[in-house]
Amino acid sequence: MTDRITRRGLVKGGTMLAGAAAGFGTIYGPWKHNRAYAQEGKPIKIGLTCDASGMYGASGRDELRGITMCIDEFNANGGVLGRKIEWITADTETNPATASRVAERFITREDCSILIGAIHSGVANAITQVAEKYGTIYLNSNSSAPTEAGENCSRVKFVWDGNGTNFTMSSVKAAVERVGKKWLLLTNDYVWGHETSDATRKLVEEAGGEIIDNLLIPQNTRDFTSYLLNIQQMAPEVVAPAVGGDDGKILRAQVAELGLDKQAAWVQSQQDWPDVWAAPDSIIGIFGTNWYHKLKLPGVDDFVKRWQARADADAIPVPGNVSYCGYMAMRETLRAIERVGTTNNIAIIKELEQLKIPAADRMQDYDAWMNPDTHHLQQTIYLARRNPNPVDDTDLYEIISASKPEDVVDPEEGKLCKLAPYEQIPTVDG
């Protein structure tokens, strides 16, 4: 018997070897996939993962206006690095599963090198996981769950809104001392609600207050009568709801209708402008925000006019915190690309980690800065209530305090966030 290497045997063996190598490679790596879209003159493509429906549909539309306004302004000035900016959007439906699919499509089929947008923390977290897999920079412009820059932080993600703890820190201590020690929590039964209520509980107890109960409210609750009956029977001194979107609007309307805000003080986390605008007669208690269109600060009036000039017929007459956060997240990222002179994701990430924004440029009372260890923008936090003396129909807030960023830093965020080393991040050149 002779051992001969035939041509057929060689081809068969080679094919088997190639197949085995491909299979082996699939299982054992390489895991890091690098993507390069950058070509001179080719537009930079950005995926806008904004909700158009679901409980944050109205806020998602407002966020979209801020982001696209920023892109239009850059394009009017020649784009970034001499390249135009293109954007694409799809309704993420306030639904993590939909958001995940949209993010995957934007990255793999539409060649988007940056994703931006989210109000709901579940949606933001779903997009983060997809973005992280491909190394795509993701700007969480408006989701304010403390986990977003805590245990769910990511090297590719930057969080631009204040979080539930920031807002709670600005109000809870004073409310325990001046209003009452007997607190009741109302918690929307998802990540942001739980995290915000946990932060409130901790701060209330540290300040000497007591949490008498925590009522969990499923998402998409439309009738709050049982909860309101419960609240009346428990008679708390302070009610702290962490209820957002459509649920929050309906809750406030039902509380205001019965005048229950006169029986107990309502201390809330951030109220998004589209939610407030939807039911201006139901503004109750005190609440947080990171921006207001009537702040007496440089640039605010001009920003409002520019925003109004391009607003669609369906828009709220003036911009609010959601549109503002979308605009700022986009602006600072595009500026970072200009500064580093490349669309390489690692270079942009490193630049954003060093970000410092003067108060005047940010249209807030105090300078803001990006925490390099959590990727969370530290910024001014305002406390507001219903304006008793409005100067026009849009003047709904009375700003009662402005907290410095360093006074409301979330102490847990840095402990929980573990950013992956740069070497583990797939490179993307958009």
Binding site: A52, S53, G54, G57, A58, R61, D189, L215, L216, I217, P218, N220, T221, R222, D223, T225, S226, Y227, L228, L229, N230, Q232, Q233, D246, K249, I250, A253, Q254, E257, L258, G259, L260, P274, W277, A278, A279, D281, A313, D314, I316
Partner: protein, 306 residues
């Protein structure tokens, strides 16, 4: 623990509201054996039309707009409760014209057609009224709260529950105590015989579909001040409506009403004692019931099972 009575009262009112939401859906499924997935969008459209009538002044010819705006809000509200369902009922007639080709065929055809209609209606709402929310103004007499059992209750909610009870009673009278009701029920069971007796079945079907969509719109008008008005509000209505029909048994009027009351009661009570289970409780109730009675509480075999 808390006093149970307020939560039982709350569950009862909530149940009546759920029964109202399911009423139009039940009528079309029960009498025509067609699943109208546009029910939620027609519910939303009713609320939007009412807002157009009660909200900011309409772009009507000179004099008419001022005359309408000058009417007391209470009168305009009552008129809106009549006009909005009539306008939506006309749309219902159009949808029924499209559905004719699906009669006697796989129920999936009708289901797909009404699903498409639902999407079109929601997009029309978005393009006419935009994506923002609206609040439906209500007359002072049925706004605000009143005190009973040392608790503050919503006046409007009790008005809505009363209106729901009236609509349920009127629908029952129409189906069970009129010649029209007898003929449409007969048509559902033996259409050939009804035709042989000289009745125009096509017109009867138009009438049933129109009444079903008018009930959906009326429910939208009544629920709007409680839920608020937004383009996707129909989804909040169509899911419990479908659940109530299955729970009560397809084709059973009182099954739907009792199922609505059961759903209201179970949501009201779980929200009081185990709040995180409040919305889930209605699905658990459905699972429990269909486990033992696969056609629902009062269901009979229908052609939808074919």
């Amino acid at each position: 623990m808390f006093t149970l009575i307020p939560f039982l009262i709350n569950g009862l009112t909530l149940g009546l509201l759920f029964a109202l939401i399911a009423l139009g859906f039940m009528l079309i499924v029960g009498v025509m054996e067609q699943i109208n997935l546009a029910h939620g969008s027609l519910f939303a459209l009713g609320a939007y039309v009412a807002y157009a009538l009660l909200g900011p002044p309409l772009p009507l010819p000179v004099g008419v707009g001022e005359w309408w705006a000058g009417l007391p809000l209470g009168l305009r509200y009552v008129l809106a409760l009549v006009i909005a369902p009539c306008i939506v009922g006309l749309l219902g007639i159009l949808i029924e014209q499209g559905m004719r080709r699906t009669y006697g065929k796989d129920p999936l055809f009708g289901l797909l057609l009404t699903f498409g209609a639902a999407m079109v209606i929601e997009d029309v709402i978005r393009s006419v009224w935009g994506t923002r929310d609206y609040i439906l103004p209500t007359p002072d007499a049925i706004s605000g709260g009143f005190i009973a059992l040392n608790l503050i209750w919503s006046t409007y909610r009790f008005f809505a529950a009363f209106a729901a009870a009236v609509f349920i009673l009127l629908t029952w009278l129409l189906i069970e105590r009129t010649r029209f009701g007898a003929v449409i029920k007969a048509g559902a069971h033996d259409s050939e015989m009804v035709r042989a007796l000289g009745y125009d079945l096509a017109k009867l079907r138009i009438a049933v579909f129109a009444i079903g969509t008018m009930l959906a719109a009326a429910a939208g008008v009544i629920m709007a001040p409680i839920w608020g008005i937004r383009p996707h509000m129909g989804v909040d209505a169509v899911i419990p409506a479908f659940l109530i029909i299955v729970l009560g048994g397809v084709g059973s009027f009182w099954g739907a009403v009792i199922a609505g009351l059961m759903v209201g009661m179970v949501i009201g009570l779980t929200a009081a004692y185990a709040s995180e289970w409040s919305l889930l409780s209605m699905y658990i109730l459905l699972i429990v019931v269909v486990t033992f009675r696969s056609r629902g509480l009062f269901g009979k075999k229908s052609i939808l099972e074919a």
